[in-house]
């Protein structure tokens, strides 16, 4: 009985605080912005993970074709849009298990499908715009994975409002410097016994913004520019970082605002 009385009192206080005149305001009204459901978060997480894999797959394809781009004699490198798209789809299928050609029937949230298609289009646009740069006899091409990544991420953000960014603790491009959340994840990735390939994500009740950090690792092709000997200049004129094969080399950060 005592608790019943208290409840009436609490309701009265609540009503007074709301400045409501009616007595029968249901308690739910006090919080019209009911939180984001866990299921929604799982869908957004899967989407963000796939977007990160697709961006990194594009980077890998560009990476694998560096010897071709850098060919000093050949003019037409044959790295057409079709070739790029095929290699990208192969890489993405191997890494994510999803065939881009059959995306519509894949088990991916609807919004994820839309955004993956958008990211694919943007990636192709970037390669298309870079054709003159690729198809000239060059000792060093300008289309390297990092440049590809930042161009794609920039255009993707303009189109969709989803932020994608390549970041590292000591980035070459100051625009890629990590923010506080990214720095915390990067520091954890940098610990040698942090389990490989384990992405980190968070969405807090206050922000309603989903953030994913997807770790990247040094592969053989990365070594040419980021490996040993530390401090010597690579082909783009930056000092090498002295990173080792398999070491964490940064992360892709994905920021998705969740609409309520």
């Amino acid at each position: 009985m005592a608790s019943r009385l208290r409840w009436v009192a609490a309701a009265a206080v609540l009503a007074a605080m709301q400045g409501s005149v009616g007595e029968s305001a249901p308690p739910e009204r006090a919080r019209p912005d009911a939180g984001i459901a866990f299921q929604t978060i799982l869908d957004v997480e899967q989407t963000a993970r796939l977007l990160a894999i697709l961006l990194d797959s594009g980077r890998s394809v560009i990476n694998e074709n560096q010897p071709l781009f850098d060919d000093p004699v050949k003019v037409d490198k044959g790295f057409t849009l079709e070739a790029f798209q095929r290699q990208l789809a192969d890489m993405f299928r191997i890494r994510s298990g999803i065939d881009l050609a059959e995306l519509d029937s894949a088990r991916v949230p609807a919004a994820g499908k839309k955004w993956l298609k958008e990211l694919l289009e943007v990636s192709k646009d970037v390669v298309k715009d870079a054709q003159p740069d690729i198809n000239r006899p060059a000792t060093q091409s300008n289309l390297i994975p990092a440049v590809f990544g930042s161009r794609v991420a920039g255009r993707f953000t303009e189109r969709t409002g989803i932020r994608m960014k390549q970041t590292a603790l000591i980035p070459r491009n100051p625009a890629n410097a990590p923010d506080a959340v990214e720095r915390l994840s990067l520091e954890m990735f940098a610990v040698p016994d942090y389990p490989r390939e384990k992405a980190m994500s968070e969405v807090t009740a206050k922000s309603g913004i989903f953030r994913l950090m997807f770790p990247l690792y040094m592969t053989r092709q990365c070594l040419a520019c980021h490996g040993e000997p530390k401090g010597t200049l690579d082909k783009t004129g930056y000092p090498r970082e002295g990173l080792k094969l398999g070491q964490n080399a940064g992360a892709i950060s994905v920021v998705i605002p969740i609409s309520r």
Binding site: S3, G35, T204
Partner: protein, 535 residues
């Protein structure tokens, strides 16, 4: 109404807890955490780290009934474990629908902080959802302490929505307040499916759904009482010096003709007993004989069914073997038992000659570097300079596949956890022929190194070239590997390479050694062989 009823419960409980601190019992088992009854037959869900490494587990149910528990199943990846006690008259918690949990919703954490006798209830909200790898957790801003681990997290309908796991950890080492994590209860579904008559149709129906409507005034009080009745205290007796996975004697799945001789506990925690080389050699020979007999028996059975062995392939009969090593590199730990179904494995690595047939028929792309491949004197040497994708493609061409990491290792070392295919002698590894004594590209013709033949008769698993296998590489995979036909991690960025090369040191020639490389890489010492399912 709900909130008030619960907060009154809280005050009472906390007073009790403070008093209890002065009369903390000292049992043989020490308090370890909390758990929740999920089925009235005595099934208790808790966190894996509460019972990991425990010699004995005791569950204390409401009313201070103590009962020994068995661990039914564990899921270290999600930090969950299912226990069973033979206690009657238990109240089970109702499961909620984890997908419907919302950020900022109110929750109640129940448990026994610091192993106190009195249960505590802590209110809070879902502050965030976080992911670390495959583990997704609710971040709860309630007051959670050691001993709450494994305890339940309820929503305000009294439905179980999560199991408390660890607290947030920061590199600074500071343990933050009000940042506890809970595993969504949906990750326990595979475990709960082990319970014979578990009723999944009740999930998300609320705790009153099965009991019918009660008077509104008593509803919340009964809710508080109910969630307390479903929560249990867990105590464990653990031995800190025993490694997490206790290996049974490696040889006890083998028929031993001489029951008096005790098998050496090979490969355990780096403490190899000093077995004289001769005795060790005799034991290895004995196991080899048993493996050969088992292999022959199964081949005969297959022959009776009219099944001829695929050409050039060796049968590896189904059964358990000891995988990994305790005294090797960190990625080979722990040594664990793995059961593999029957499979066939190529006797030799794929040769340049065989690979050429595939290329000429249009099925395969030529190796990335063709100098060895084009050399007619190297036709019977293993094909090299192929990427992982090329290797997989070749095996798929005649309807085979790449072996898994476990299949490679079992074929190489048999079932007794030996170091090398030939036994445990480092001397053999040291006395191997030098690359300089070999041909121009550092490989040997396949099947010419008899001393390195495995107990099943598979040649060149170690010593000739490193071999691509199907699995993604993960350093920590052995810690969570399934016990039956493991297929490796679901994703990764490097593929596993197994088997040391001639130029390697003895450590890398061990059968447990795990190499890895970028799947787009190729090299003069990277080859492969194919496998096929047994049935």
């Amino acid at each position: 109404m709900k909130r008030l009823a619960l907060s009154i419960g809280c005050v009472v409980v906390w007073t009790g807890a403070v008093l209890a601190a002065e009369r903390l019992p000292v049992p043989a088992e020490r308090p370890s955490g909390s758990g929740v009854i999920v089925h009235s037959d005595g099934y208790v869900l808790t966190a894996h780290h509460v019972v990991a490494n425990a010699r004995r587990v005791v569950v204390v149910t409401p009313g201070e009934y103590r009962a020994a528990a068995i661990v039914v199943s564990t899921d270290p990846e999600h930090d969950l474990a299912l226990l069973k006690v033979e206690t009657v008259g238990l109240t089970e918690a109702t499961l909620g629908h984890a997908g419907g949990v919302r950020l900022d919703q109110e929750v109640v954490a129940v448990g026994f902080p610091f192993g106190l006798r009195e249960v505590s209830m802590a209110r809070g909200r879902i502050a965030a959802v976080r992911t670390k790898g495959v583990q997704r957790v609710f971040q709860v801003d309630a007051a959670i302490n050691p001993g709450n681990s494994g305890g339940p997290l309820f929503n305000t309908q009294g439905e179980l929505i999560g199991i408390l796991t660890t607290k947030f950890s920061h590199p600074s080492g500071i343990v933050p307040e009000g940042m506890a994590f809970a595993v969504p209860v949906s990750y326990a579904t595979p475990m709960l499916a082990n319970i014979e008559d578990f009723d999944f149709t009740m999930v998300g129906r609320g705790h009153n759904a099965k009991k019918g409507k009660k008077g509104k005034g008593t509803e919340q009080e009964s809710l508080a009482a109910m969630v307390v009745r479903t929560t249990v205290r867990i105590e464990t007796a653990r031995s800190m010096d025993v490694p997490p996975t206790v290996m049974p004697s490696p040889a006890d799945s083998v028929k031993r003709p001489d029951p008096a001789g005790s098998p050496p506990t090979q490969g355990q925690a780096g403490t190899r007993p000093p077995v004289p080389p001769a005795a060790d050699h005799a034991l290895v020979q004995q196991v080899n004989e048993q493996l050969k007999v088992a292999q022959q028996e199964q081949l005969q059975r297959l022959a009776q069914q009219g099944i001829a062995p695929p050409e050039g392939m060796v049968l590896i009969p189904a059964g358990e073997f000891a995988m990994g090593a305790e005294d090797g590199l960190p990625d080979t730990r722990p040594m664990h038992r793995v059961y593999l179904s029957t499979y066939w494995l190529d006797r030799h690595e794929v040769t340049n000659r065989q690979y050429r047939q595939c290329v000429e028929s249009g099925g395969c792309a030529p190796p990335k570097d063709q100098s060895a491949y084009e050399d007619p004197t190297l036709a019977d040497h293993p094909v090299t300079n192929v990427t992982w994708a090329q290797a997989r493609h070749y095996c798929g061409w005649p309807g085979k596949r790449l072996p898994t990491e476990a299949e490679w290792e079992k074929a190489a070392r048999g079932i007794d956890g030996r170091l090398y295919p030939w036994g445990n002698s480092d001397e053999v590894a040291k006395a191997r022929p030098r690359p300089a004594e070999r041909t121009k590209n550092g490989t040997a013709p396949v099947g010419t190194m008899d001393f390195a033949r495995s107990p099943y008769g598979v040649a060149d698993l170690v010593m000739n070239v490193s071999e691509w296998v199907n699995d993604w590489y993960a350093e920590d995979f052995y810690r969570s590997s399934p016990g039956r036909d493991p297929q490796g991690p679901a994703r990764g960025s490097f593929r596993v390479l197994r088997g040391g090369e001639l130029s390697d040191r003895p450590l890398e020639l061990r059968a447990s050694y795990r190499g890895w490389d970028d799947m787009t890489y190729w090299g003069p010492s990277l080859g492969f062989r194919c496998a096929q399912d047994g049935s």
